[in-house]
């Protein structure tokens, strides 16, 4: 590119310098475009669900799809006041998820403390015991829990689900909380005990500031898993304690009729998880990998 090329040296510099950089930039533009296309493809079914939920039933069921059809709240109106009300199942899901998450935190935080800050002997064995319960297929415990519920009159009782969801999320929460608690610097704990700070003061002024975001992330992930659960809710509940995912299964055999209403229902039920998930976005990996990836 240089006009004053006099020998082979600047020419090679030319070849290795600018053109390579330019080629890399052009390649970079393609990769950026590819990343955008892939991202849009993955989000497309979600967007399609939201868009269809705002279409009329007639516009939702066309081929080719009518993307620019007028928007309406018909689907939502049908979902909320058309047949059986979705409010009791939504409230049941909310109760089961929030109460079980609170229980999980109450049990998991002290346990994680005893596995990281003041570790018991063989703490890693205990940790792996918690993990191993997660590998036990849930169907293995389904029948005894059902029979137990049947004999104690707890069938169709939201408290049974709460206890089960607590046990389902406790191992995850213990692993997560342990990984967050071990981020508390040892020097700070030592300094606190040198200054004669008691347990409460250490917890409040040294540990809490470090782990509060971790507790929030743990809570959000436990909430998501409880909210999503279907198998146990379907077997252990009926009309009274039915949860939102069980309510959705009414659409399984709909043969694609009432598509707008179905999309509205799917979107409404997914909304709390979408909100919780995006709020916990940064800690999502750490949570899902049980604290082993940061």
């Amino acid at each position: 590119m240089s006009v004053t090329t006099t020998g082979p040296v600047p020419a090679t510099r030319d070849q290795r310098g600018e053109p390579v950089k330019k080629r890399r930039e052009r390649g970079g533009a393609w990769l950026t475009l590819l990343a955008w296309v892939v991202g849009i493809l993955f989000v497309l079914p979600v967007l399609w669900m939201v868009l269809t939920s705002f279409h009329s039933e007639a516009d939702a069921a066309t081929n080719p799809p009518s993307v620019f059809a007028p928007l309406t709240l018909e689907g939502y109106r049908e979902f909320f006041s058309g047949g059986a009300s979705p409010w009791p199942p939504l409230l049941n899901s909310l109760t089961a998820s929030i109460v079980s998450t609170a229980l999980v935190l109450v049990l998991a935080i002290p346990a994680a403390y005893a596995l990281s800050i003041k570790p018991v002997q063989k703490w890693s064995d205990v940790l792996f015991f918690f993990l191993s319960t997660k590998m036990l297929p849930v169907v293995a415990g389904l029948l005894p829990l059902y029979l137990f519920a049947q004999n104690t009159g707890l069938l169709d009782n939201i408290w049974l689900l709460i206890v089960f969801y607590t046990s389902m999320n406790l191992p995850i929460a213990v692993w997560m909380m342990r990984s967050f608690l071990s981020e508390v610097p040892v020097e700070m704990l030592e300094a606190a005990s040198m200054d004669g700070a008691g347990l409460i003061k250490t917890l409040r002024s040294v540990i809490a500031p470090v782990v509060t975001p971790g507790i929030a992330a743990t809570a959000l992930i436990c909430f998501i898993f409880s909210w999503n659960e279907l198998l146990f809710a379907r077997v252990l509940t009926a009309t009274v304690a039915e949860t939102a995912p069980v309510f959705l299964t009414a659409f399984v055999t709909s043969q694609g009729l009432f598509l707008a209403q179905l999309c509205a229902a799917a979107f409404v039920v997914s909304l709390p998880v979408l909100v919780a998930g995006f709020a916990a976005q940064d800690k999502l990996v750490q949570g899902l990998s049980l604290g082993s990836v940061k």
């Binding site: 066309t62 346990a111 036990l136 297929p137 293995a140 990984s179 999503n228 997914s270 998880v273």
Partner: protein, 318 residues
């Protein structure tokens, strides 16, 4: 599965420092752990013991008078049942298919997102969305809004594309009937690729960049850097993603239940056990099947855990 970030601490924290009153302090240490531990043992281990007991019993809710000890009859029926054998095979195909495809896609997308570009945060957010749709809702959307042969989005898009080229005779496959297992696999791949992508992206961002820069200065090209530096570094993250993904997907019930209702050869083990229990009310056989599944899972999980932990030991010794 010692955590990736924790392995340096693991050796040092194992023994508590010698205290003055060791016994009382040991109990003071254990106290906060006890509620969680006892809760877990009662809620997860006792039911399994009950399952084990019932698996040796003749117990069908439709014939309550015939309840009694059955020996290994239920297990014989489980192992000789064609449906069970199909379910095992389906579970393996489903799990392996979803884990492998979503790992490979997740790796590709993680590599794409590991560069700085305009809108990287937006693309990452879009990628996470599928994972945050309630599984039943996602399965319903795939079944009715995407796969539906008459007005699903897939066939709608085919009509539209064919229409662009002036053809009014587009292919309109009935996706779920033509390829039921793949229909389930694709919907799960869509939901699980973000999970794999997030783990692998975290792995990529933990790469030592100075070493890569040094290799590049020494004349290594992108492909060489990828195969000899990035992949070995990612290996433990790939294994972690595969292990966690398998644990979750082996247990999948929602997608099978919703998309095909276990029909057309897509009934996996959780769905089959659910059916034996919920529809046939054969408690003895359902329990025996559950015990077999647990034993299978233990074998796979031990094997997987051993692979991962040996990998860590090997890395630590290097």
């Amino acid at each position: 599965m010692t955590s990736v970030a924790e392995k340096s601490r693991a050796g040092t924290a194992e023994t508590p420092p010698p205290g003055v009153a060791r016994r009382t302090s040991a109990w003071a240490r254990r106290a906060p752990l006890m509620p969680a531990l006892i809760f877990m043992i009662v809620v997860t281990q006792l039911p399994f013991v009950a399952t084990l007991v019932i698996s040796f019993m003749d117990w069908n809710a439709y014939y309550p008078d015939e309840r009694g000890f059955a020996g290994f009859d239920n297990f014989v029926r489980v192992f000789t049942d064609v449906n069970m054998r199909d379910a095992v095979w389906t579970t393996i195909l489903l799990t392996a298919g979803v884990v492998l495809i979503s790992l490979i896609l997740g790796l590709g997308i993680a590599l794409l997102l590991d560069r700085k570009f305009r809108g990287r945060g937006a693309v990452r957010t879009m990628m996470i969305a599928p994972f945050l749709v309630v599984p039943v809702a996602a399965a319903l959307i795939w079944k009715h809004a995407l796969y539906n042969p008459e007005y699903g989005l897939f066939n709608g898009a085919l009509t539209w594309v064919w229409g662009l080229f002036g053809s009014d005779n587009p292919p309109q496959p009935d996706w779920i009937s033509n390829m039921p297992l793949w229909a389930v696999i694709f919907s799960l791949v869509w939901q699980w690729t973000p999970f794999m992508m997030l783990i692998l992206l975290a792995g990529l961002q933990g790469r030592p960049l100075d070493v890569i820069e040094a290799a590049r200065i020494d004349g290594a090209n992108n492909w060489q850097i990828f195969t000899s530096m990035t992949l070995p570094h990612l290996r433990q993250y790939l294994e972690l993603g595969a292990l966690l993904g398998s644990i979750y997907i082996v247990q999948n019930f929602d997608a099978v239940f919703t998309i095909t209702s276990g029909g057309l050869g897509t009934a996996n083990l959780p769905y089959t056990i659910y059916q034996i229990f919920y529809q046939a009310h054969d408690y003895g056989r359902a329990s025996a099947a559950a015990v077999v599944v647990v034993l299978g899972t233990i074998i796979i999980a031990t094997f997987a855990l051993r692979t991962v932990s040996s990998l860590f030991r090997q890395e630590a010794g290097r």
